[in-house]
């Protein structure tokens, strides 16, 4: 999760993506584009459901892009477009310079086998195969020999904390452990891109936190390009390098999580963020004063710009008079006054015309 020095390259570009469900999507699409109909109007006048409307997202290499939205917002539909489990009504998904929608069945299979792996909300493991066989599904599909793939699978099962479970069957494991198998399966495929569809939504909160930590830990090491779907804002803020908020099939706002928290662009998001633990999400770099002039300041210590505010408050033991010097590696980048920090924690009120007001 370290802030990259330079802008990472875009791995997947989603351009003007539309998905309309119904008997004649092309006709309904014209209505949406030309007349600007929204989801309820389209349903009423044309009897079609607007799944996704004009989606544009850049998924950057080595980052976790989180798509967040409530149920029915189209997030699971969106992620299924990336590996074309669902075909769009209109739009482009550019991967490695080509529109993935133009890929032949053969090419698409190769991409799914070798370059994109997926983790599912309901785990979707094969009940009649052992954990190790499940984990090596992608390799088996590619036609790699059993001896070879089982070794590879064991390696990744160890990595996700399932040492010694290779010979068990999925139904013998708890939900959290089953999802670890799901993650091991995605990692064993050694694909650069991981699509995670509400991967943790079916898990208990405590196990979910564990799994989030596991993902961040793995990510630090592996630098995969991850597209993560969730309906949980806390989870989204914790994991996201880039956060996309979806509502009724439309992107409401997309940005770095810090920015979304500090500058919500829509009453919908204001409502969302109003009861978030801001100290845990906000980082020093977003609230510090960008100055290197430290003269006359009583510097209490040095902190890294990527620390979150909760850590700093703990470090200062709640003393609001302290000032810290902020560093990016060895470079001084700014100064953080505890007063400023406290001010940044003032919650935004739930908006007047937002969903809570209703």
């Amino acid at each position: 999760m370290s802030a990259p020095a330079m802008e990472p390259e875009t791995r997947i570009e989603i351009r003007n993506l539309y998905k309309i469900f119904g008997p004649d999507p092309a006709h309904a699409l014209r209505a949406v584009r030309d007349e600007g109909l929204g989801k309820p109007e389209l349903l009423e006048e044309y009897g079609h459901v607007l799944g996704l409307e004009d989606i544009n997202v850049d998924v950057k290499a080595g980052e976790i892009t989180v798509i967040m939205g409530l149920s029915g917002s189209g997030k699971s539909t969106l992620i299924r477009h990336v590996n074309r489990l669902i075909d769009p009504t209109a739009g482009e998904i550019i991967y490695e310079g080509r529109d993935i929608l133009g890929a032949s069945a053969e090419e698409l299979r190769r991409i799914r086998r070798e370059e994109m792996s997926m983790v599912f909300q309901k785990f979707a493991l094969l009940p009649h195969k052992t954990v190790a066989e499940n984990a090596s599904m992608a390799l088996d599909v590619r036609g790699i020999s059993r001896d070879e793939y089982l070794g590879e699978a064991e390696k990744w099962l160890d990595r996700v904390g399932l040492q010694g479970y290779g010979g068990s069957y999925p139904h013998q494991l708890s939900g959290g452990m089953q999802q670890r198998v799901g993650i091991a399966r995605a990692l064993t495929s050694n694909a650069g891109i991981m699509l995670m569809d509400e991967a943790y939504s079916a898990l208990d909160p405590l196990i979910r936190t564990d799994m989030q930590d596991l993902l961040l830990e793995l990510q630090q090491e592996l630098q995969k390009t991850i597209l993560f779907i969730t309906h949980d804002l806390d989870e989204a803020l914790k994991l996201a390098d880039h956060l996309v908020i979806l509502k009724d099939g439309r992107i409401v706002q997309q940005d770095e999580p810090q920015t979304i928290l500090l500058e919500p662009s829509d009453p919908y998001i204001v409502d969302f963020v109003s009861d978030i633990n801001r100290a845990r999400v906000l980082r020093v770099r977003t609230v510090m004063d960008r100055t290197t002039a430290t003269d006359g300041l009583n510097i209490a210590g040095e902190i890294d710009q990527e620390e979150n505010l909760e850590t700093i408050i703990a470090m200062a033991k709640g003393d609001t008079r302290r000032t810290y010097l902020v560093k990016d590696g060895d470079k001084k980048v700014g100064v953080l006054r505890m007063e400023t920090l406290i001010k940044s924690l003032v919650p935004t009120e739930a908006s007047e015309d937002g969903m809570r007001a209703r």
Binding site: R109, M118, F123, V141, Y169
Partner: protein, 346 residues
């Protein structure tokens, strides 16, 4: 005057009716004779006694109108007309069935009992992995042998073995094809419904015309047609019921349709397919008894003898023998099914 004569008058069809009446040389029915004997006093027409305008009733009013007897007769003639062509095609296609049945019967009859019974017990052990069942089956088979029913039971088993195996070989692919295509499913379901509801005896009627009664394939086809339905239905159902999420995962990891079928769909549908196989075996057993009417060998022959000659004891004992076979086959396949289910418990 017949009730509906006036209608033909009104329609101006009188001359047509009269032209037909001379030709109607069908046999006189009992009812006709009775009315003739009763004298000519026709009862006063009453709305309560108005007969339904059926073919026979209309024929009475108008001689040119065909009797219902003509309908069944024409179906019969139609069938007899195409019969030669049909058996020209069906005979070679179904010939292997005769060979299989003859082969299996030969195998089961010539293998000495002291090899056959241990082999059967070994198969039961292999499939069910239950010693208790093996002991039970051993007791049953030895008892049947002791009361001199062994060779009949062996014949029945041979027929069931061939027919159930062919049902699975043909039925599973049909079920898979149905699961994959909604159109095919819509086409097949009425056929399966018909096969399932048609009384077992009715299968035999056209088959007797098509094939020689001395050939084993006659009863082989009857048994297969009757018993194949559950395995087709349950294969279709089983594959359609496979968890959509797992199928999606298989797609997401780039499985081809064939890989999906072999690695995901069939294994996950196996409990249902096995339930279908169990039903198929049970239904072949019930049909093998009825098929003894058309020379199917085995315990059914004894049941038939019991009915024909009123040999109560033979009929009852062979009936019980069939029950014993049914229990053996059912328990064995059920335990195999339970083992598969246990492996897939969630």
């Amino acid at each position: 005057m017949a009730t509906y004569e006036s209608i033909f008058h009104a329609l101006g069809l009188q001359s047509w009716c009269e032209s037909g009446s001379e030709q109607s040389s069908g046999p006189t029915s009992i009812a006709d004779l009775l009315t003739q004997n009763a004298g000519t006093d026709a009862p006063a027409p009453s709305i309560w006694k108005l007969p339904f305008p059926s073919m026979d009733e209309l024929h009475e009013a108008c001689g040119a109108f065909p009797q219902s007897r003509a309908l069944t007769k024409s179906i019969e003639n139609g069938f007899l007309d195409i019969k030669d062509g049909l058996s020209l095609v069906l005979d070679p296609i179904t010939q292997p069935l005769s060979w299989f049945l003859e082969g299996a019967l030969w195998l089961f009859e010539t293998t000495p009992w002291w090899i056959m019974i241990p082999v059967l017990l070994a198969i039961v052990l292999l499939v069910s992995r239950s010693r208790r069942l093996v002991v039970f089956v051993a007791v049953c088979l030895l008892t049947l042998a002791f009361i001199d029913f062994y060779s009949f039971a062996a014949q029945t088993l041979a027929v069931i073995f061939v027919c159930a195996l062919l049902c699975v070989i043909l039925g599973v692919p049909i079920g898979i094809a149905m699961a994959r295509s909604d159109r095919l499913q819509r086409m097949f379901i009425p056929i399966l419904d018909m096969l399932q509801t048609l009384p077992a005896f009715v299968y035999l009627i056209p088959l007797i015309f098509l094939f020689s009664v001395t050939e084993p394939k006659l009863y082989g086809i009857a048994i297969i047609l009757y018993a194949i339905v559950p395995v087709i239905r349950l294969t279709d159902l089983g594959i359609r019921l496979v968890d959509k999420d797992v199928i999606e995962a298989a797609d997401a990891f780039g499985m081809t349709d064939q890989q999906k079928l072999i690695k995901v769909q069939i294994p996950l549908a196996l409990p249902n397919i096995m339930a279908g196989v169990n039903q198929t075996i049970m239904m072949s057993l019930s049909m093998v008894v009825i098929a003894s009417l058309v020379s199917a060998p085995g315990l059914g022959v004894l049941v038939l003898r019991g009915i024909r000659n009123l040999e109560l004891g033979v009929g009852l004992v062979s009936g019980l023998g069939i029950v014993v076979l049914a229990v053996i086959l059912d328990r064995t396949t059920k335990l195999a099914l339970a083992r598969i289910n246990a492996g897939q418990d969630r």
